[in-house]
């Protein structure tokens, strides 16, 4: 009854870069998971000018351009790494709060297309975590014209930085003669935390004294005040604690209440009370194949469920999604196996990251006025036997694009 799109077409057709379509596109799904907790059966979703204009249930498939068994909103990956290249991060200074990655993104890199094929339509982009404070992150779509204008959803969406050993690995005191700045950078976790604290204190003090402006200060102050969320990578328990204590110290000093998002918080499940108290959100890294992630942090399939049960806002992430078993949808599968309910899993890959990134007005659900970003599945999503068979982005079918008409 349903003609699902050919798998061959999915894996072999190129991802074209067409102009956004002004004409209508109609998508039919036996079940449309329009938002966590909401299922529309025999749904007909109408798209015009790249936005969703109509959603109704109990409809017939005959008038649809695209048909699928199930449909969800395009997935949002806030932990996405499109590149591991260190030329994305400015390491000549430990704290580069004003660095903005968006203008220097390589939109031709393969990682974007890979994410798109996995059903991820919106991602966060930030520098590689080699700096204490890497800079301002942006939110982008993974497909469409390879220009910033076409793909940028939100600039300056968060301040990105890191705790732990990734900013300090590679730094060593150089003995008698320092030959480069790696000898000045922090070499321990202690140093990294010190840099964070110094950055905030300095920004705060300069502002209070009325010092002349310098690059980065405004960004740090907006982070301090909670205007911009702070997305701190902290894999291990000790680093998560450090991040939370830092936020608490800033609040205690009256410098502001930060909105904390713990990135790659694999061991967040060990400190649920602390996280609840801090109102921090957690973005989990992909499930490690051998139980331990970077920084030897322990994470298992039930980590997401544990956080959810504790009431901590949790988002899932696939990082670069390289190789099978590592896609974002598969992270949701593991989380469900670990006990995360279906709706919470859907939230963790759509509405929660959209909310944390501040783009819920555009992406995350299938609703009137939202961007027409859809993933077409060949079965109930977030099951091992289900895969994405089509992706619509901004109203254009970019994967599995051949219509049935």
């Amino acid at each position: 009854m349903i003609a699902t799109l050919s798998l061959f077409a999915l894996s072999l057709s190129p991802v074209p870069h067409p102009a956004p379509r002004a004409d209508k596109l109609v998508v039919y799904a036996e079940r449309a998971y329009t938002a966590p907790g909401v299922v529309v059966t025999d749904a007909l979703i109408t798209i015009q000018d790249g936005k969703i204009t109509h959603v109704r249930g109990g409809a017939r498939a005959s008038s649809a351009d695209l048909r699928a068994t199930c449909v969800t909103a395009g997935l949002v990956d806030m932990g996405f790494r499109y590149s591991s290249n260190q030329n994305t991060v400015e390491q000549s200074s430990e704290v580069t709060a004003a660095a903005r990655i968006a203008p220097a993104l390589d939109l031709h890199a393969r990682g974007w297309e890979r994410a798109l094929r996995q059903g991820i339509t919106t991602v966060a982009a930030f520098p590689v975590d080699r700096n204490v404070v890497g800079g301002m992150g942006a939110v982008l779509k993974t497909g469409g014209e390879p220009t910033l204008e076409a793909r940028l959803v939100r600039a300056d969406a968060f301040l990105r930085g890191s705790m732990g050993s990734s900013p300090s690995s590679g730094n060593r005191p150089s003995g008698t003669r320092p030959t480069n700045f790696y000898a000045r950078r922090p070499t321990t976790r202690m140093g990294v935390e010190w840099e964070w604290r110094k950055a905030f204190y300095d920004a705060w003090q300069e502002e209070s004294r009325g010092d002349a402006d310098r690059p980065g200060r405004a960004e740090l102050l907006r982070a301090l005040s909670g205007e911009t969320p702070v997305f701190i990578q902290a894999w291990a328990t000790q680093d998560i604690r450090t991040a939370v204590f830092l936020a608490e110290e800033m609040a205690a000093e009256g410098m502001g209440t930060m909105r904390l998002i713990i990135g790659s918080g694999a061991e967040a499940w060990r400190e649920p009370d602390l996280l609840v108290r801090s109102k921090a959100a957690v973005c989990l890294p992909p499930l490690p194949a051998a139980g331990r992630t970077t920084e030897n942090a322990f994470m298992s399939m039930d980590t997401a469920a544990k956080l959810y049960e504790a009431g901590i806002p949790v988002a899932l992430s696939a990082h670069s999604g390289y190789g099978s078993g590592n896609t974002l949808a598969e992270q949701a599968v593991y989380a469900r196996r670990g006990g995360l309910p279906f709706d919470a899993a859907l939230t963790a890959v759509t509405t929660m990251p959209a909310r944390l990134l501040g783009v819920s007005d555009r992406v995350g659900t299938i609703d009137l006025g939202q961007d027409a970003d859809l993933v077409l599945w060949n079965g109930t999503p977030f099951e091992f036997t289900t895969r994405p068979v089509g992706v619509v982005l901004d109203g254009t079918p970019l994967v599995g694009g051949e219509t049935d008409r």
Binding site: S6, F8, A9, L12, S13, P14, E402
Partner: protein, 476 residues
């Protein structure tokens, strides 16, 4: 290159199946007639306004006013010539095989060839007019083994390799970057050159020692073949001897039997061991132990297959000529021969062909190319040397530019006819490809239909036929 949108799995699989072979090929058995304004039968022999009749992939007629048989496919072209042959290529040889160094004389390039390899480069080469190539793996090994001649547009798996054992290849004194390294040496005047360093760096004596090794390998091949021939003689003689002896013994058989029985009894009585009388004819001549490498070397020494020697510098070339002089039947082909200009007369006298790669070299080229002379091809050809032009045996994509290399040689003084021969009839002759390299009766129909002279930059190759099948159609 943009991929075409694929509509369905079926189309995809059909395309994949025919991907290696042209989807528009005319099947074998068809008759094709080419009406040509000008046919270059072979360089220097041009016929005007003739027709070429091809049946079953073979040229049957080249004459004017041919009657076109019914059902024949007709093609018209301004200029028709033979498909070009690159005598120094690596199409189909993957780069790891090119860099392989543990080869021996019996290593066969044919065993490593991937019929689907270098698909894009093969298409590009065909479009340029190159229809066959001699390919070689393990170029940097001193002894690279046996090279092969391949068709760039085979009609099937079997057709792909035209000659599996086309020639034995060796190389002398090549810089091997894998084993050592290279350094930039900056000269006082600001130019710089690339030199080998580390274990790969060889001085002149080491390179000459390589020539010695090759010569001794050839000598061992010769010894092996001599031993084989001697064995054949010995075997024949032995058989003869046996027959004679048998005849002899038959005469006195009864007596001999009685004597023998007596001896057995005597021995029994005395408690001694009876020893059979041994005739010298009992001992069978021993065949020389089979040695795959020596088989090939023997073939080369005997002139059954040519030996291609890549050698560049004067010292090695001089010694090579000296060391190989005793092998009267050796059919040697020098590849590269950067500084061979000094030996033009000797090479011509000994009928040693030279495969020249006319490409200019920049400062980043290895030091064996330091003596590069752009006029080499012309100088050798003028002295009467059989000059072939090849694309260098290093990069698969270079075969595409073979006609340009020939044009370069002309620009530096080679006669145009000799340059065209260097990429058609020359390689065919040197590598025993009697079925290609010219447009005449009996040859395989590997033809190019062009809109101008083959070596001109502005000429377009419109149609290419390989074995009578159209493998390149005119561009729209």
């Amino acid at each position: 290159m943009r991929k075409l949108p694929i509509r369905s799995a079926f189309v995809l699989s059909a395309l994949l199946a025919s991907a290696a072979w042209s989807a528009t090929a005319t099947p074998l058995g068809d008759t094709v007639v080419v009406h040509a304004g000008e046919v270059i039968v072979r360089p220097g022999e041009v016929l005007k306004d003739v027709d070429i009749l091809i049946i079953d992939g073979v040229i049957r007629r080249v004459e004017a006013g041919l009657e076109v048989p019914e059902g024949a496919k007709e093609i018209t072209g301004a200029v028709v010539c033979a498909g070009m042959i690159d005598p120094w290529s690596v199409l189909g040889v993957q780069s790891v095989e090119v860099a392989f160094t543990a080869a021996s004389p019996a290593t066969r390039t044919a065993d490593s060839l991937n019929p689907f390899g270098h698909e894009f480069q093969k298409k590009q080469a065909l479009r340029s007019g190159v229809t066959s190539a001699r390919v070689q793996a393990a170029r940097r090994a001193m002894v690279s083994g046996l090279c092969s001649v391949v068709s760039l547009a085979p009609s099937s798996d079997e057709d792909f390799v035209a000659r599996a054992d086309a020639a034995l290849s060796v190389s002398i004194g090549l810089t091997n970057p894998a084993s050592g390294g290279t350094t930039f040496v900056v000269n006082p005047d600001g130019t710089f050159v690339v030199r080998a360093s580390g274990p790969s760096a060889m001085d002149t004596f080491e390179r000459i020692a390589q020539v010695d090794k090759v010569a001794s390998l050839l000598a061992s091949g010769r010894t092996y073949r001599i031993a084989q021939n001697e064995f054949v003689h010995d075997m024949a003689k032995w058989k003869e001897g046996i027959e004679e002896k048998v005849k002899e013994l038959e005469k006195d058989f009864k007596k001999a039997k009685k004597d023998r029985d007596k001896e057995i009894e005597e021995a029994k009585e005395k408690g001694k061991e009876f020893k059979e009388e041994r005739y010298k004819e009992d001992k069978t001549p021993q065949a020389p132990k089979f040695d795959a490498d020596k088989e090939i070397l023997a073939k080369a020494v005997n002139g059954e297959i040519p030996i291609v020697v890549e050698v560049h510098r004067v010292a090695e070339i001089r010694y090579l000529l000296e060391a190989t002089a005793p092998f009267g039947r050796l059919r040697m082909v020098i590849a590269g021969g950067t500084e061979a200009g000094a030996f033009a007369e000797q090479l011509a006298a000994r009928k040693i062909a030279v495969i020249v790669n006319p490409q200019a070299r920049g400062a980043s080229a290895y030091d064996e190319f330091d003596g590069h002379d752009a006029a080499l091809a012309g100088v050798l050809a003028e002295a009467g040397v059989d000059v072939l032009i090849g694309s260098g045996g290093q990069t698969a994509g270079a075969t595409r530019d073979l006609p340009l290399l020939a044009a370069m040689a002309v620009g530096e003084g080679m006669e145009a006819d000799a340059a065209f021969a260097a990429i058609t009839s020359g390689p065919a002759r040197v590598f025993d490809l009697s079925d290609r390299g010219a447009v005449e009766f009996g040859k395989q129909a590997d033809l190019l239909i062009l809109d101008g002279q083959p070596l001109s930059t502005t000429t377009t190759v419109q149609t290419v036929l390989v074995g009578g099948r159209i493998v390149v159609e005119p561009k729209e």
